[in-house]
């Protein structure tokens, strides 16, 4: 061993004292405190002091600034048997709003209804819903609902009201009236009956704000029955509608749309299609779907009906206002004579309806398309009853009046008379759910339950019953309307008990009752019974009773919008208010609809300003001394002498925030002709200097002849079913035969190309330089039939309810910042000045889930990827909001959270918005949110997900059951609610699936993809529109004057 010494420094070499000292203390571990004395007196070195100061300040800051808001979650102490958090429960029930009926299933999550589905067991609505049914769940959580009973607008109790009302009723000697809307419920009728027996002074009258009294009276005169028949649009080969918007608002549109779609489904192998004629004054969705359409003045409708009658019975050629009208009536008459015809009419006039009955009788419709064996109860009101009651009130002859589901101070044509009359009635009671215009004037307000909180039943058609069960216990201190009557009649049971007993008895056993309740409906088995009736109407009297049409001047026509209908609680439903009207695409307001020519004549012509600026010219409408100022909205296809105004707007703040300052009330434009309410009258119209912005989501009218949709006449299509196929082949066919195409790629990946379209496959693989990603397992796809889509907007509402789509308010819609995930594009074609030439197409448009999605590759942070099931996904957490994806989307279906609409943001107090949508952020309203779907915060992109939460749910259920997913188990919200089944959805790789068969067999010829040629490879296909007429106007430069107009 060497004795060499290695040293690190001179200190170590020389082993100095200092070095020895420092090495021995190398790891000195003294505390920085001087512990020699009292600890509290100890000196802390400056650096340590600073360290501690720094640490404690930082800790305090961290603790203070990271305080999380306290969120209240109340767990179940004992879990209810049938509620599992996170698992939805479904209850069959019934939507009833006066005479409007729909069999539904309520989806509840954690004890609260969040979504309405159609009940497919019902033979009437067959699983369809309407936009209003979909949105009705939001009314349950309406902040403007009354939370307790009131006496003289002071909070009160039921007991106090019961005492006061029974005393007043007992003392009353004058006639009293119970005014309700049409009542479908047999038990409610029974309860009313008991009540009127107990208090014989009380008379029950029915008031329908939108009246069908003329039909009821005509039927009584012609068939001896004051009722409505059942219509069978499915069995009709020729459908003639004289102003009846039966696909949108007339009587039972869900039922009729379902039936109508049967005759409109067409494929290359089944070329039979019903023929639909429509004569109308405004432009409705029903008119938009018609094969032949002509316009007339509203006052001319009777003359048209007579002309049709004469053409059928005597063969007399019609001599009406315009050639097209004559042509349509003549053609319709010829077709009707072939049998299987159906004529419906929207006029509320006993004479016109008598003529229509005579036509139906003459063409043999009774017993084939008009069914008198099973009658409908949708409307029961007789106009004269209401008018007489109002007169009686004003004469001081009425002792008491009760209002249930009616609001005459708003809905009656002479509101001031009702208002005056009410002052003379000692006992006034309203069962309104909100402090509406009538309730405000009543002494007692006893708010009724919402229908989702109620027990009940309905008999929409004789012998066809539907049960109503609540989806939630009453949220507020409200009481069922029937309970009040029963209590006052001295009945000690509640309506719910009475109802239970009634049905238990009727069903015979508890088991049968349980099944009925579970299914929601009690219907006769088998096909609906069919029967005619003997016509005994006096046609010549009716014809002579029909008033002559106005020969000149403008007429105002009052109509119902698909969204909010007659108004009621829907006037305060932000979903419905923001739903773009299917025809005008306008939101939040009502307006005066006029034709382009009328607008031009008024000096408010259709210029490019309409597409640049939302401000519309305001016109002053004067009817019988009543003036109203409304903005005009131009609607091609309207009669040039007609101004149409929608009902249901112009409410006050008490009806709700959303209803406040929204549009104008059009009820005063209704008139009474001594027998029926008429929804048209002469009007003076003049342009004012004012402008008013109307929030319209689609400002361009024409599709510019672009091949984004395809329409053919039935003749073109029958002659060559491959007409569309050939067009597509010319565009993409050559990719199949590329010399360098990898022909065998499908074998290699193990996917058989049997049944798959070689043209599409070739284009998919060879239309790009990039490799093709074959997906395995499920591949979702959707098909939308443009023939059966009636543009009703139901899917828009279903999507909004299912996917927590934000309401943005009018100010934001004005900036085109609306959020709907699905929109229904509406395109007009034709000559703007000739309303008869206008044809309309609806095209539902949502994320196309492109397999080669332009949005996906441009996102800098990969926030929108693709799944191997063909879904285009949004990762909200990852999105930084560059909006690049939305710009690059050729379909413009991506929606950006421009503002904090849901309070889901991390910034406090930053709601920057229209006060009319404020209620959407209320804790009560937020109960409607679907917990399965993320509430998006500000600054992220969103769009249709194909209801991925539903797909996952269905897959998990299948997995739990240990079997593959079956076709039809996973349904998107839009598909499920569609009343015409225009939307089909499923696994395109499942050969048993509907979508597979549709795409590859049944509808090969009608199938197309929007913007297929840009190789986005969408997973939604459309089926071409086939019109049962002689020529297609759209895209034909000689006939489509809207096309090159700079609108």
């Amino acid at each position: 061993m060497s004795q060499k010494k290695y040293w690190k420094g001179l200190g170590e070499l020389n082993e100095t004292a200092v070095h020895q000292e420092s090495t021995s203390n190398e790891f000195k571990g003294d505390l920085p405190f001087d512990l020699s004395g009292n600890l509290l007196d100890a000196q802390t070195p400056r650096r340590d002091f600073l360290k501690y100061l720094g640490f404690s300040t930082a800790a305090a800051m961290l603790a203070a600034s990271c305080e999380m808001p306290v969120r209240k979650v109340i767990p179940y102490a004992i879990k209810p048997e049938d509620i599992t958090p996170g698992v939805p429960n479904f209850y069959a029930s019934t939507f009833v709003d006066n005479g409007d009926y729909c069999a539904i299933v309520i989806k509840t999550r954690d004890g609260r209804p969040i979504k309405i589905e159609g009940n497919s067991k019902s033979s009437i609505t067959k699983g369809g819903t309407s936009a209003r049914v979909q949105a009705s769940v939001l009314n349950l959580y309406d902040k403007a609902r009354l939370r307790q009973p009131y006496i003289d607008n002071h909070e009160s109790t039921f007991e106090a009201i019961d005492r006061a009302v029974t005393a007043a009723l007992a003392a009353n000697t004058k006639p009293a009236y119970l005014v309700t809307g049409s009542i479908l419920s047999p038990t409610t009728k029974e309860v009313i009956n008991q009540f009127t027996i107990k208090f014989p002074t009380v008379k029950h009258i029915v008031f329908d704000a939108v009246s069908y009294s003329g039909m009821l009276q005509a039927n009584e005169a012609c068939y001896g029955k004051r009722t409505l028949p059942s219509y069978h649009f499915d069995k009709a080969q020729t459908i003639v509608s004289l102003g009846a918007d039966f696909l949108g608002t007339w009587l039972s549109p869900v039922e009729f749309a379902k039936q109508y779609s049967v005759g409109r489904k067409i494929s290359a192998s089944n070329l039979k299609m019903s023929k639909h004629y429509q004569v109308e004054s405004n432009h409705t969705t029903t008119g938009a779907k018609a094969d032949e359409r002509a316009v007339c003045r509203p006052s001319e409708m009777g003359t048209v009906a007579v002309a049709l009658y004469n053409a059928i019975t005597t063969g007399e050629a019609p001599k009406l206002g315009n050639d097209k009208l004559n042509e349509v009536v003549a053609k319709a008459a010829a077709d009707l004579k072939k049998g299987n015809g159906l004529v419906v009419c929207g006029a509320n006039d006993v004479n016109i309806q008598t003529v229509v009955n005579a036509i139906n009788n003459a063409v043999g419709a009774n017993g084939t398309t008009v069914n008198w064996a099973v009658t409908s109860n949708y409307r029961q009101g007789i106009d004269a009853d209401m008018v007489n009651m109002v007169n009686a009130m004003n004469a001081g002859e009425v002792g008491a009046v009760f209002f249930h589901n009616v609001n005459p101070v708003y809905e009656y044509y002479q509101a001031s008379k009702v208002l005056e009359g009410l002052k003379k009635v000692p006992l006034t009671v309203s069962f309104a759910e909100r402090r509406d215009e009538t309730a405000k004037e009543c002494k007692y307000i006893i708010p009724d339950h919402h229908y989702l909180e109620s027990w009940g039943d309905a008999e929409p058609k004789t012998g066809y019953f539907s049960l109503m069960q609540p989806g939630i216990a009453p949220i507020f201190k409200t009481r069922a309307f029937q309970d009040n009557l029963m209590a006052w009649a001295g009945n000690t049971t509640t309506y719910a008990q009475y109802w239970n007993q009634y049905w238990l008895t009727k069903m015979g056993s508890q088991q049968a009752f349980d099944i009925a309740l579970q299914e929601g409906i009690i219907e006769p088995t088998g096909e609906m019974a069919m029967g005619g009736a003997t016509f005994s109407g006096n046609v010549s009297n009716a014809i002579s009773g029909i008033k002559k049409p106005l020969s000149g001047g403008k007429e105002i026509f009052v109509y119902e919008k698909i969204a909010i209908g007659r108004g009621a609680g829907y006037s305060n439903n932000p979903w419905l208010l923001e739903m773009p009207d299917p025809m005008t695409k306008a939101t939040w307001d009502n307006y005066a609809l006029v034709s382009p020519k009328t607008a031009a004549d008024l000096g408010a012509e259709l210029t490019s300003i309409n597409e640049v600026d939302a401000k519309k010219h305001v016109v002053k409408l004067t009817v019988n001394g009543i003036s109203m100022e409304l903005p005009i909205v131009v609607m091609p296809g309207m009669h040039n002498e007609v101004v149409a105004v929608a009902l249901g707007y112009g409410r006050s703040k008490e009806v709700g925030r959303a209803a406040d300052n929204t549009g104008k009330n059009a009820y005063p434009f209704i008139s009474y002709n001594g027998n029926n309410f008429e929804n048209f009258t002469a009007v003076a119209i003049e342009k004012t200097e004012l402008v008013y912005p109307v929030a319209i989501t689609q400002t361009h009218l024409s599709y510019e002849g672009r091949p984004i949709l395809h329409e053919y006449t039935i003749e073109e299509f029958s002659k060559d079913p491959k007409v569309l196929w050939n067009e597509r082949e010319a565009e993409i066919g050559h990719y199949t035969h590329l010399p360098w195409a990898e022909k065998d790629s499908k074998e290699e990946t193990g996917i058989s190309d049997e049944g798959r379209d070689p043209m599409e496959e070739g284009f998919r693989e060879n239309g790009t330089l990039y490799p093709n990603y074959e997906s395995h397992g499920i591949h979702w796809g959707m098909s939308i039939d443009l023939n059966t889509c009636v543009g009703c907007g139901n899917c828009v509402m279903a999507c909004q309810a299912e996917n927590n789509v934000s309401v943005v308010g009018k100010t934001e819609v004005l900036k085109s910042q609306e959020m709907h995930w699905i929109r229904i594009d509406r395109y007009f074609s034709g000559m703007p000045d000739d309303p008869n030439s206008i044809t309309t197409v609806f095209q539902p448009m949502m994320c196309q889930h492109c397999d080669n999605a332009p949005c996906e590759n441009v996102c800098p942070v990969a926030a929108t990827p693709h799944t191997n099931e063909g879904l285009n996904m949004m990762t909200y957490n990852r999105c930084i909001g560059t909006k690049y994806c939305a710009n690059n989307c050729p379909y413009k279906v991506r929606r950006f959270n421009w503002l904090d609409w849901n309070g889901a943001d991390c910034f406090d107090d930053n709601l920057y918005e229209d006060y009319r949508r404020d209620d959407m952020n209320d804790d009560l309203t937020r109960m409607v949110l679907n917990p399965d779907v993320t509430v998006r915060s500000r600054g992220v992109m969103e769009k249709c997900t194909f209801c991925v939460q539903r797909l996952q749910y269905a897959k998990l259920e299948a997995k739990k059951a240990g079997r593959p997913l079956m076709d039809g188990e996973a349904k998107t919200a839009c598909q499920q609610s569609c009343p015409t089944d225009a939307i089909q959805f499923g696994n395109t790789k499942d050969k048993e699936s509907n979508i597979y068969k549709l795409r590859n067999k049944e509808q090969m010829e009608r199938k197309f993809y929007v913007l297929e040629q840009i190789h986005t490879l969408p997973n939604i296909n459309y089926l071409a529109l086939i019109r049962n007429n002689e020529s297609i106007v759209g895209g034909d430069v000689t006939k489509d004057g809207l096309m090159n107009e700079h609108i």
Partner: protein, 478 residues
């Protein structure tokens, strides 16, 4: 090497009988003096504008992008228009310093410092827009490829927007380095002349201990060349990549292969116009007419007329291609540009960018300073409209007519834009006060070859017979 003799045909790049000292005096004097009244007024207005911008952006970040006018169809409006416009402006500086350095263009020395400063400030302004146009700006970090625990999750390298981030940040870094390395000898000059301790210290730090030794100069020259080499491709790449934001999309009017060269030409066009705007004002206020001469202005006007013509050809090519493609969406996109509700923006662009710069074919107008000034502003308005036309008028009417809409900006968008002017001019005023506006060292470098004073000394040579001159030149090179 520079010739000892330069013809009189070439006008001098520095006017007046300047000595080296005089050059130093004239350029450094503004730094050492209190600024004039105009400076204070301008600076105040710039800061006020900047504050307006800060307020507008705060408003937008707090409430959301919905306070702007952009919508479901037009997802980019003034924000990206302004971004592209500022980036375009930021092209001239580097072009002047890098490409003209490599091409040995002596005239660049008079303007390169200010042009580079302008580049850096313009890129700073441009950078604000992509940041604050994000819906969730607090998550802007997602865009950087940083190692993370989210999977790991990387940005999408297919996205042109991501390339933008890299392109702009690289460009900014290199431009800043280039600019700063050029400033070092000049900072040292200021330091050496400094009479106050603070100034000496600050400029001492800023000049990195420059001593002016031969080694210093040698390395400085080498660095300049390396950076110039690096910047040259960047000048072309930045706007190429910005154009990819549009060119790689599927929107008619965006999806065009012509975009990269067309964008680069447009960028140089607008960049030179902005240099003109700034220098015409600057030379007047700071009194540097001798250094930034009419000759300089004319040279830049020549670039403007060239690039303006390229841009014009590009516009016409686009029109031709849309017709030639026979794609209706493509044809309609241009139809709606020219004749749709935004027709005025298209014609503003055409007039300002294509028609008016053609006047620069006239030498008289090229050398007319007030005219050049007006024209430089016209060009920048035109170039702003070009970006607006490309972005907004492609989006507002694309494939499905149902979604066609219109777009108008709201006050926070306008405020944001004005705010970037505030930022730009605040920076520029500070630059004009504290930095040598003209590269002192570089201008001295050409003083002896291209300065007016030197040219007078050439009289003797000029009068010599040609043979003798040739002989002497040949001798001198041996």
């Amino acid at each position: 090497m520079h010739l000892k003799y330069e013809s009189f045909v070439r006008e001098p790049l520095v006017n007046g009988e300047k000595t080296y000292h005089q050059v130093t005096e004239e350029i450094v004097r503004p730094i050492e003096q209190k600024p004039g009244r105009m400076w204070y007024v301008g600076f105040f207005f710039s800061v006020a504008l900047l504050m307006l911008g800060v307020f507008s952006v705060t408003w937008e970040v707090y409430y959301g992008i919905g306070v702007w006018g952009i919508n479901r169809t037009v997802g980019w409006g003034w924000d990206i228009t302004n971004f592209v416009w500022w980036v375009g402006i930021g092209h001239a500086g580097t072009l002047i310093s890098a490409i003209l350095l490599l091409f040995r263009q002596g005239w660049r020395t008079g303007v390169n410092r200010a042009a580079e400063a302008m580049t850096i400030f313009a890129v700073m302004c441009a950078g604000q827009f992509p940041v604050f146009h994000m819906g969730r700006v607090w998550d802007a970090g997602f865009i950087f490829p940083l190692p993370n625990s989210r999977g790991p999750l990387w940005p999408n390298f297919n996205s042109a927007l991501l390339w933008d981030v890299f392109a702009i940040s690289t460009y900014f870094t290199v431009s800043l380095l280039f600019w700063y390395s050029g400033l070092i000898p000049d900072f040292a000059t200021v330091r050496d002349r400094a009479k106050t301790k603070l100034r000496k210290r600050l400029y001492g730090i800023a000049s990195f201990g420059w001593t002016g030794s031969a080694k210093n100069w040698q390395r400085h020259e080498a660095l300049s060349l390396v950076l110039a080499g690096l910047s040259t491709p960047l000048v072309l790449s930045v706007h190429t990549i910005v154009s990819f934001d549009f060119a790689t999309s599927v929107i008619p009017g965006w999806h065009a292969t012509i975009f990269p060269p067309y964008f680069v030409a447009g960028a140089i066009f607008s960049g030179f116009a902005m240099v003109q705007t700034l220098l015409i004002v600057c030379r007047r206020i700071v009194g540097l007419e001798d250094y930034i001469t009419v000759g300089h202005i004319e040279a830049m006007n020549k670039v403007i007329v060239l690039t303006g013509s390229i841009v014009g050809v590009a516009y016409l090519t686009e029109l031709f291609m849309s017709w030639y493609s026979q794609v209706i969406y493509e044809q309609d996109a241009f139809k709606w540009r020219i004749m749709g509700p935004y027709w005025w923006s298209y014609w503003a662009m055409m007039t300002c960018n294509v028609v008016s710069p053609q006047l620069f074919w006239f030498k008289k107008l090229r050398r007319n300073i007030p005219f050049t000034f007006i024209m430089s502003i016209v060009v920048n308005i035109g170039m702003w409209f070009e970006r607006f036309v490309i972005i907004v008028t492609s989006l507002y009417r694309d494939y499905l007519p149902s979604s066609w809409t219109y777009y108008s900006p709201t006050w926070p968008e306008v405020g944001f834009y004005l705010g970037t002017f505030g930022l730009f001019f605040t920076c520029f005023f500070l630059f004009a006060k504290y930095f040598p506006v003209i590269a002192i060292a570089e201008i001295k470098f050409i003083l002896k070859t291209s300065g007016e004073s030197f040219k007078h000394k050439m009289d003797v040579i000029h009068e010599k017979p040609t043979e003798q001159f040739v002989h002497e030149q040949a001798e001198a090179h041996h």
